[in-house]
């Protein structure tokens, strides 16, 4: 009986994280552990020039002398950097002419990932599918990019894995509006592997690009590290919209396993009237620690940060943004929606800084926290540093529990408890979700519901 119950519980547990499978794909690994030889190995694998290797080695030596910062409201067990692989690549032919040449296991994986229908069509090459360019990064290297030719014709140079071992470089030339959403799926597959992709997007004068990343990982008992860097540069009148739907494996109900999602995201609104908009929906990972930021040095430049962070069970999140106002007339908007359930902890941490010569800066910040249950925590930590008296800074914050009245009302109209919770939570997060491209907003809505299953007793 007890064993039977255990098996049932296990099945239930496994059904919750639907992306927890691993794929049996032959991979090339770097030797386990991290030292200068690992760095040389990766650099050699990518056939990099000497200066790249030097740059990497310099970074590595700096990193060795650094200590892990401890100011976040996170409890992070010590990370053994020697107990991980730093390079894993699906073994395959050196170049791919079309998706047909892709390892069928990988294609199957995308189907299981529930990549939005439109994108599956794109991946499968269905005619007339809405044009979303999909780039898939598997462990460390990019395996397939759709619409490369079409993007090139549109004047977008799209070089995958050219500069870094993994990740993306996008340059949108002057005046070009990138005609479709660019989209990347990150997938950590191999065991004990870290993922360290790098993304650089440059929008030249008057250019526009919208970029979306989605992330999942297999269900494994060990913690895995994802430490990525995303950098955006917007020149005069350029606009970059960067959206993330992060659903790395969150660990089990007792906090075993899961991804450490430690990511650096920063944008430089360099040109006058340039604009960068970060939208993130963070539902996965054991620990999420990231602050997508904007340095607003252009005159009248605009930075936006829209965030939904959901934590359940033993998950921890300490996330927010930094808006550094250096340009006159620069404006920023921060909308953060934190949802905590189970025994999780969810912190919004945000900096709004106004430099002494930045006249007429405006910022509006709104941080709302929703608590489900009585064992979770929501924390809001705003930092406001204003060195110019003309700035107008507004900060609003609310913390509320999901109301019994709302739950009962929805149930009395025919929704079961979980559907009622999902509906109310989606309403709470709507301001942020509506910033996402339509098809991804639908996926994100479902994700919020799934991530909360069983969280309200």
């Amino acid at each position: 009986m007890a064993a039977n119950e255990q098996a049932l519980a296990l099945a239930k547990e496994q059904s919750k994280y639907k992306w927890g499978f691993s794929s049996d794909i032959e991979s090339d690994f770097a030797p386990k552990g991290l030292d200068e030889d690992t760095v040389r190995f990766i650099s050699a694998k990518k056939a990099e020039p000497e200066w790249m290797l030097e740059w990497r080695l310099k970074a590595f030596r700096l990193w060795q002398g650094m200590e892990s910062p401890d100011w976040a409201k996170l409890s992070i067990p010590p990370i053994d950097y020697q107990d991980a692989y730093y390079y894993a690549a699906p073994r395959k032919k050196p170049t791919l002419k079309s998706l047909d040449e892709l390892d069928p296991e990988i294609l199957l994986t995308y189907q299981k990932l529930g990549i939005p229908i439109e994108e599956q069509k794109v991946l499968a090459g269905v005619e007339g599918a809405r044009k979303v360019a999909v780039d898939a990064v598997f462990d460390s290297v990019s395996v397939a990019t759709t619409f490369r030719e079409e993007l090139k014709r549109a004047g977008v140079i799209f070089l995958n894995s050219a500069v870094f071992s993994d990740g993306t470089f996008v340059y949108v030339p002057e005046g070009v509006r990138c005609p479709m959403e660019l989209s990347t799926y990150f997938r950590i597959n191999a065991e004990n592997t870290g993922q360290f992709e790098r993304t650089l997007i440059i929008a030249d004068k008057g250019a526009y690009v919208s970029y979306l990343e989605g992330c999942t990982a297999p269900q494994r008992d060990e913690n895995q590290l994802h430490a990525a860097v995303v950098e955006l540069v917007a020149l005069e009148d350029a606009e970059i919209k960067y959206s993330t739907v992060q659903n790395w494996y969150p660990g089990d109900e007792n906090g075993k396993g899961g991804i450490y999602n430690f990511v650096t995201k920063r944008a430089h609104c360099r040109g006058d009237r340039s604009k960068v908009s970060w939208t993130q929906v963070e539902t996965g990972s054991a620990i999420t620690w990231k602050y997508p930021s904007c340095v607003l040095s252009g005159k009248d430049s605009v930075g936006e940060f829209y965030s939904v962070a959901l934590t359940n069970n033993m998950q921890q999140a300490d996330t927010g943004t930094k808006m550094i106002h250096l340009g006159a007339g620069s404006r920023s908007t921060i909308i953060s929606k934190g949802i905590s359930a189970g025994r999780s902890n969810n912190t919004y941490r945000g900096l709004v800084r106004v430099g002494p010569s930045a006249e007429g800066v405006r910022n509006f910040t709104q941080c709302d926290s929703l608590l489900l249950g009585s064992e979770c925590g929501a924390h809001t930590v705003p930092y406001i540093e204003v060195k110019n008296p003309s700035a107008q800074i507004e900060h609003e914050a609310t913390t509320s529990k999901i109301s019994d009245d709302q739950l009962f009302y929805a149930q009395s109209r025919g929704l079961d408890r979980e559907a009622a919770v999902a509906l109310i939570v989606n309403g709470f997060a709507k301001e942020v979700l509506q910033q996402l491209p339509m098809e991804f907003a639908v996926e994100a809505q479902k994700l919020l519901g799934i991530s909360l299953e069983g969280s309200v007793g």
Partner: protein, 248 residues
């Protein structure tokens, strides 16, 4: 057989017993009114029937359409055709009225083994019912009850009822806070929905609503029990003489 049959129902809110042996039968096609002083257990009765958490039936039975109502979860009661119109309708920010109603309707249909309603059919239905209770499509697109006046919230309850088309509706003080025009609209809606297959239980503090919706029976609830039952004339007697003597 009665559509709703309540027998010797006892119910607690927290540790406190509020309903103390309530017995009531409402047949299909009938409209009954329950009146009573504040604190007599009127709203508790509505919540217990709808299955609200924290409102616990401790003994007695409720049979709805031949089924054990108390054994069902709240959403199952809704799908079985039970509806509760709330005295204080709740706001759900960020969820549009239309989305809320379509989600609810399809959840009910799914539980009944019926297919989803098509988007076009739903919109037609929503427009018709909004019109019937003087709400605009703008109200339907706004967050559920967000920024609605008291009267608009009550009319929105009626829109929901009409759209979900239950077999039985308990309306908890739907008339309170309505001006005379809104009261007439609401009463007109109830009269329109009256049918031989549908039952109503109107919980009200005043007989005013009963001038427009003629009940088949009027009951007086006091101290958690039905203390008196009669025809429509009982409501007038209550209005004249107060609850003091009749409820004693």
């Amino acid at each position: 057989m009665a559509m709703l049959k309540i027998e010797n129902l006892h119910a607690n809110v927290g540790d406190k017993e509020i309903l103390k042996g309530l017995t009531l039968e409402v047949g299909a096609g009938e409209v009954h009114a329950i009146m009573g002083p504040n604190g007599s257990g009127k709203s508790t009765l509505g919540y217990v029937l709808a299955g609200r958490e924290g409102y616990e039936a401790t003994s007695g039975s409720v049979t709805f359409d031949g089924r054990d109502l108390l054994a069902m979860a709240p959403h199952e009661r809704a799908a079985a055709g039970f509806f509760l119109g709330l005295q204080y309708p709740v706001e759900i920010p960020g969820v549009s009225n239309l989305n809320f109603l379509r989600t609810a309707l399809n959840a009910q249909r799914k539980l009944r083994g019926e297919p989803d309603i098509s988007a076009a059919d739903f919109m037609r239905l929503a427009r018709t019912e909004a019109d019937a209770f003087d709400l605009t499509m703008d109200h339907m697109k706004r967050g559920v009850n967000v920024g609605f006046s008291g009267g608009e919230k009550k009319r929105n309850e009626m829109v929901q009822m009409a759209l979900l088309a239950p077999k039985f509706a308990v309306l908890d003080e739907t008339d309170s806070g309505l001006d005379i025009d809104a009261l007439k609209t609401v009463a007109g809606g109830i009269n329109l929905l009256r049918s031989p297959e549908r039952g109503f239980l109107l919980i009200t503090h005043y007989q005013r609503l009963l001038d427009y919706v003629k009940p088949d029976k009027v009951h007086v609830l006091s101290g958690g029990r039905i203390v008196r039952s009669g025809g429509p004339e009982l409501a007038h007697a209550l209005e004249r003489e107060g609850y003091g003597e009749l409820a004693a």
